[in-house]
Each structure stands twice: as structure tokens, then as C-alpha cells.
Subunit: 236 residues, 2 copies
């Protein structure tokens, strides 16, 4: 079965967490909206007069007759199917819990440049973004990354959960990459406080399928339309 | 087995979504931080030098040897244990997907009064809150509630999922109650656009265990320390 991933074609965004899981799994998938007429197809599913269980927003994944929205829900599904999460209930819930904490951080990373409204342009909320980004750099990034550092420090195997890479590891990699793109000065200053997190980032990047993916054209470069945006004035 | 719920004792907050599920399930639980010395106990679990899998923030639930953080993850667990979600994979994922969409709305409801930083007081971010709340009232509440209206309209059984109440229904009830408390004028103006949502709210409120809970002292009143806050200047 070929999965169909639906997500905006010009950004990594939330879709990237799903792409990384599909790539690491070596799954057969098509990134629908990047093909011809794909955005229209995506919008038709969203409008979804015919969908019994319509998604609220991209990304969503078609897996045979299943249509699954919400990044963390998609990963919960893929984790079980492709060995990207433990099989036991406790391990499955713990992996998901970590993913949900990363999802909170992703929202805050977005709101650092869009604190007032997603529907407004960045330049219409610049003063507010400056204030919010300062708090995000000084207080929120350290709080979240110190937490993941603590979790990693308790597992001698070097992963967030157990002895193998899970989707939460892939997502932490993506978040660190994104933060490093958006806030290079702040992250360079702080990186030495999170050696375990940085090591994990490198370990994920070195996995053969992820490495091949990152070097391919399937990996969309970071840009200023996505979640992680580099606006130098927000980097302190 | 008695569950231990850990959450801030003076607000509904995110803990309320868990409380509602425990109450509907008729589960045996203790709201730890509302007892003597309970907040200290909660903070010790959080600091958690001894916890193998420490939570990032309240709420978290102890269920025997399991310690589960993140509201949606707790509900995923409780849903399976207490028949508050379908047993089949598709139904389980769909219920969770709806919960995650509600979780996004909850974050936005909070950020309507705290658009700059959680760590700052409201009066230190009032002008920004005014701008954000306006967008929230005009664009975001309608977008989210129209979505849930659409989902409900497709299910003749009157619930979000299948033929029985799930934790997503309880959560939608709580969100509508919270929005109605925080934005009474905006909600009164808009309520007629979402008849199915309002009917669902009433159906949940009338369930015997929920009704008893809402009338009890266990239900903390809404207040201006929680997620849903009534600041008249943010209500348009």
C-alpha cells in the first residue's frame, strides 16, 4: 500500500515530522500536494463533503481507507505500524507524551514570529514578535530543551525511549534543526547546555535513510514561509 | 486501583479535561494537589530525580506504575481503559485526532489573554491581548467551532464519534463552557451558527455523572487564573 501524505508543498512545516517518519520507515509514500494539481486535491479532501472524518488542517495521511489528521496522531499510527515506537502500552504512551511536548514547542516556535494572528503578515506584528521571541529565546527554548536533556540523560542508550530510535527522536532532531535555523545566535550560545540533545540530533542525521533524505530534493529547505523562520531581529 | 491526578488546585485548566473523563468513567481518583501538602508532592514528582519518565508539566496521572503526562495522552489512556473511545484502531485515532484539534484551540484560548509570555502578567500584555483576542473571536473560534459543527452534522447519533460519548465529547463540552465564560458576548452572538455543538454541550451537561460533578465542590469555578478568563475588554 502506498501512503498519501497531504501537506503544503513549499514548506517543511508540520508535514516534515511525518515525512521524517515515513523516510526512516522506508515507507512507500507520495507527497500529494507536490505533484501536479496536488494542492487542489488536498483542498478537496479538506472541504471534504465526501469525507466521513474530515481533517481540520494539513498534514493528513491516507493509509488505505484510513484518513488521519493531526501530526501527533499520524505519528501514533505510523509508530505502531513501522516499529517507530515501543509495542508495550507504557512505552507507546511515553513516546507519544514526548511528541506532544514537542508539538507544544513547535506552536511556540511559530508564535514567536506570529504572536497576534496566523492570518496576518509578519510585518504586521513585528513589535509584538520581538517581545514574544525574546521570551521564547530566554525562557521557553531553555525550559523545553533542558527537559529533553534530562530525559536523554536518564537513558544510557542515547535515545529518548528505550534502545531504538522512535518518531519522538526524529521530531526532536527536526525541532533542533528548526530552532538552529531560526535562532542561530541564541542556539549557538546555548548549545553547550544540552550536549545530549545535540548528540541525538547528530545521531538522527547520520541514520542512513535520514541522511539520504536530507541530501535529496525531497527535503524542502527551511524558508520564511514555514514554522521556523530566520528573522535576524528576533534572534537577539 | 485509585488514580492519582496531579494538577494545580485552584483552576480548571488542562486538568479539567482529565477530571471530566475520570468523573464520567466513575473512576476512583484523588486530586492530589488539592489535599494537604499536595502541591509539594506534585512539585517533587515534577523535579522527579526519581522518575524514570518525568512529565514536562501538569496535568499528569499516576495509574499504578504508570506515570502519564500531557492531557491528550492521559485521555488516550483513559479512553481505552474506560470505554471513552472506540476499541477499533480507526475510531481510536479519530477520537484522538479530534482531541488534538481541541488542544490546539485551548492553546489559542489561553494565548488570547497571554499572547507574549505565560510568565508575564496579563496587565503587562494588554494591548497585544486586545489584538490577539479580536482575531481569536472573529476568525479562530468560528473556524474551530464550524469544524466541530460539521463533524457532528455527519453523525446522526449526536456524538462526535460513533454511537456513544467519548472523551472528545467531554472536551468539546468543556471548551464551549470555557469560551462562553471568557467571551459571553461573542459566543452569544455566534451560538446560533453552531446548533449541533450547543446541543452536544447540553447533552454532556445532562449526563448523570457529569451533572453530579458540575454541581459538586469538586468542580472549581472558572476564574481569572485559568485558561479561559473573562476580561470584558477582550470580548469585543
Amino acid at each position: 500500500m502506498r501512503y498519501e501524505l497531504y501537506y503544503w508543498p513549499s514548506i517543511q512545516g508540520r508535514g516534515e515530522f511525518v515525512r521524517l517518519a515515513l523516510e526512516e520507515a522506508g515507507a512507500d509514500y507520495v507527497d500529494v500536494a507536490r505533484g501536479k494539481g496536488g494542492v487542489d486535491r488536498m483542498m478537496r479532501v479538506m472541504d471534504g463533503a465526501r469525507e466521513k472524518r474530515p481533517p481540520f488542517a494539513p498534514p493528513f495521511l491516507k493509509a488505505g481507507r484510513l484518513l488521519i489528521g493531526q501530526t501527533a496522531d499520524i505519528l501514533l499510527f505510523l509508530g505502531g505500524r513501522h516499529g517507530l515506537a515501543p509495542k508495550d502500552e507504557a512505552g507507546r504512551l511515553w513516546t507519544h507524551q514526548l511528541q506532544l511536548t514537542l508539538a507544544d514547542l513547535v506552536i511556540e516556535a511559530h508564535d514567536a514570529h506570529h504572536p497576534i494572528a496566523s492570518a496576518l503578515y509578519y510585518h504586521d506584528q513585528r513589535p509584538e514578535a520581538r517581545r514574544r521571541a525574546e521570551d521564547f529565546r530566554r525562557n521557553r527554548i531553555p525550559k523545553f530543551l533542558a527537559y529533553f536533556e534530562r530525559v536523554l540523560a536518564r537513558n544510557p542508550r542515547g535515545w529518548l525511549v528505550g534502545a531504538r530510535a522512535t518518531y519522538a527522536d526524529l521530531s526532536l532532531f527536526q525541532v533542533v534543526e528548526g530552532l538552529s535555523y531560526a535562532f542561530p545566535r541564541a542556539m549557538a550560545r546555548q548549545a553547550k547546555r544540552w550536549p545530549e540533545v545535540m548528540t541525538l540530533r547528530d545521531r538522527v542525521a547520520a541514520r542512513p535513510r535520514i541522511k539520504a533524505y536530507l541530501a535529496s530534493e525531497r527535503r524542502i529547505p527551511f524558508n520564511e514561509d514555514g514554522i521556523f523562520r530566520h528573522y535576524p531581529e528576533l534572534d537577539g
